[in-house]
């Protein structure tokens, strides 16, 4: 294929871009198709909408679902924040941010409250989200029932008929084995009293933030080709038994950098002798709390 094309590009001046991308990288048809899936997802909160997942310039499993969702909703006036495990400065977060700066002409920010779109892997920021913001989750396994039921035809049926006994089997097994529900991330939720949904591998610490959130929550699973959504101010209830209700993780100590309590902490190994410190996983929140910059409405 490439012989002629190569000569063509080679003849161009070096200053001219060699490839011109459509705004947002994806072509308009694809964006429309994804937006339709998003609309359907918003209309049926928690329902997994199949979509034709496209190639994007990163491997499947690195957030291609989230990238496609973001690409379909982002415009030049948007301010994008990307976090990976709560951090704005990891390789993946930085790459995705730069990718959109280049293909969508959007500006980037690390400040949660300034961002119009937040793409995330594994966390919801500590700073509460506000109406008008959209959070895009990268999802590896969208099917919460997959653990016990490998057949897609069957899980779809179970969702359709609202047969969710199976989901509780997993919780039962945890209690039988460990005395409590041991699942601490990707903890299943029931959305709007109807569909059971995987919240993506966020810590169960973050689950309560999804409930009645003023922000629009979108979920993209690129490898599994599913999109789903939770509209603003929608109930998101974490599952549990009457006598073993859902309990989010909690931390008994404050962040060792900024001193915040009631935040999600990462353990950071500090030396070869096994020394460790516990610090905020949300780097933006931590940096601004410790420097005294305002993060309005943040927890104590």
């Amino acid at each position: 294929m490439g012989g002629q094309a190569m000569t063509l590009t080679d003849q161009r001046p070096a200053s001219e871009p060699r490839i011109v991308y459509n705004e947002g990288y994806l072509d308009e048809q694809t964006k429309r198709a994804i937006r339709r899936a998003l609309l359907k997802g918003v209309a049926i909160p928690g329902f997994q909408v199949p979509f034709a997942s496209r190639e994007v310039p990163m491997p499947r499993g690195w957030g291609t679902g989230g990238v496609q969702v973001t690409a379909s909703i982002i415009g030049p006036e948007d301010l994008l924040k990307v976090i990976d495990q709560g951090a704005d400065d990891t390789t993946n977060a930085v790459s995705i941010r730069q990718f959109f700066e280049r293909v969508a002409g959007s500006a980037s920010t690390t400040h949660t409250e300034q961002a119009t779109i937040i793409q995330t892997r594994h966390r919801i920021p500590e700073t509460p989200l506000a109406a008008g913001q959209t959070i895009v989750y990268q999802v590896p396994i969208p099917e919460p029932l997959r653990f016990l039921e490998p057949r897609e035809t069957e899980t779809r049926r179970l969702h359709a008929l609202e047969e969710y006994g199976l989901m509780y089997v997993k919780l039962y097994e945890d209690i039988a084995r460990y005395g409590h529900i041991a699942k601490t991330y990707d903890y299943p939720v029931r959305v709007n009293g109807r569909y059971i949904m995987a919240p993506s591998p966020i810590p169960s610490f973050d689950n309560p933030k999804m409930h009645m959130s003023p922000a629009l929550q979108l979920f993209g699973a690129g490898r599994e080709k599913r999109i789903y959504a939770v509209p603003p101010f929608t109930s998101v209830e974490s599952l549990g038994f009457e006598d073993h209700p859902f309990e989010p993780q909690s931390f008994e100590r404050p962040c060792q950098i900024c001193g915040s309590e009631g935040v999600y902490l990462d353990e950071v190994i500090t030396d070869d002798a096994g020394g460790a410190m516990f610090v905020c996983s949300d780097t933006d929140y931590c940096a601004r709390t410790s420097s005294g910059t305002s993060t309005e409405g943040a927890p104590q």
Binding site: L148, E163, G165, L166, Y168, E173, A176, F241
Partner: protein, 301 residues
């Protein structure tokens, strides 16, 4: 447990018996044939669990089974016997709505107590039957159990599917049923993958009875087990069926199984019912040539 007469009908039954009549839609023991069903149905709505008339299922242009008619009442165990390929598994699939009824009629009792044509039920209604009214014990426990979920979780799942949301109650009920099928309490949190074949079948039985079904289908539940384990399992099934007043359709190729636990036997060959009647009558005084062959080849020796 008296499964014979049900609310509202005893007088009718007694009078029918007194007059030497049979309720016209009752099961006939005549070989092969069936009485005309058009006569007055004196036992309408009197608690039949299953009512089958000339039912058949077709694979392409060939019938897997055809022309099957019988009624099943609470507390009754019906054995379907025949060699492999005789159509007995097809019949089981047909009765349990896993296969379509391509001709004739299969009616089952639904929650209201009335008989409903299976073919008219939606998928949701059929699945509801599976959750609340019907059990199915598979020949291979791996088909009926989650092999990597604990025994307690396997038995508790139908309860959770029926809306139980109290862990302590689910666990207590599961433990009670595991004890009933003789699984030691300390193995409750182990998975069936670590159990013997006989134990797996017992867990499967508990899982299928814990929610109080009225009809249980069993597909060769004891084949593949050692003889001593088989006897123990059959005895367990027999006593549970009697205690709970269950209706059971059990498919087996083993006439000894039919003799031990069934009241009535239906002999199948080439998709047709060759003979049916009281189990001891079919086995001691078989009428059809094929049944005589079966009895002579299996029971002797």
């Amino acid at each position: 447990m008296n499964g014979e007469i049900t609310a509202g009908a005893p007088g009718v039954m007694a009078r029918a018996a007194a007059a030497g009549e049979e309720p016209s839609d009752d099961f006939r023991r005549e070989v092969g044939g069936h009485a005309d069903e058009s006569g007055g149905d004196m036992c309408a709505a009197s608690g039949k669990v299953l009512s089958v008339r000339e039912a058949g299922h077709r694979y392409g242009d060939r019938f897997g089974c055809r022309g099957v008619s019988f009624d099943l009442w609470p507390g009754e165990v019906l054995a379907v016997v025949g060699e492999s390929g005789s159509g007995k598994s097809t019949l089981l699939g047909l009765l349990s709505a896993r296969l379509s009824t391509d001709e004739g009629s299969v009616r089952c009792q639904t929650s209201g107590g009335e008989l409903t044509e299976l073919a008219t039920l939606s998928e949701r209604e059929v699945r509801r039957l599976w959750r609340t009214d019907w059990g199915f014990v598979h020949q291979n426990a791996a088909d009926g159990l989650r092999m990597h979920v604990s025994a307690g979780g396997n038995v508790g799942e139908p309860l959770m599917a029926n809306g139980w949301r109290h862990y302590g109650q689910i666990r207590a009920r599961a433990a009670e049923w595991l004890e009933r099928v003789e699984i030691p309490a300390h193995r409750m949190d182990e998975t069936p993958a670590t159990f013997s074949g006989g134990m797996r079948q017992r867990v499967q039985i508990a899982r299928n009875l814990v929610f109080g079904p009225r009809l249980v289908f069993m597909d060769e539940p004891t084949s593949g087990l050692d003889v001593s384990v088989q006897a123990r399992l059959l005895d367990l099934i027999r006593s549970l069926v009697a205690d709970l007043g269950l209706a059971v359709v059990i498919v087996t190729h083993d006439l000894a199984v039919a003799r031990l636990i069934s009241h009535r036997t239906l002999v199948m060959k080439d998709g047709q019912v060759i003979e049916h009647g009281l189990t001891d009558r079919v086995l001691e005084d078989p009428q059809a040539a094929y049944t005589q062959l079966l009895v002579s080849s299996i029971l002797k020796g």
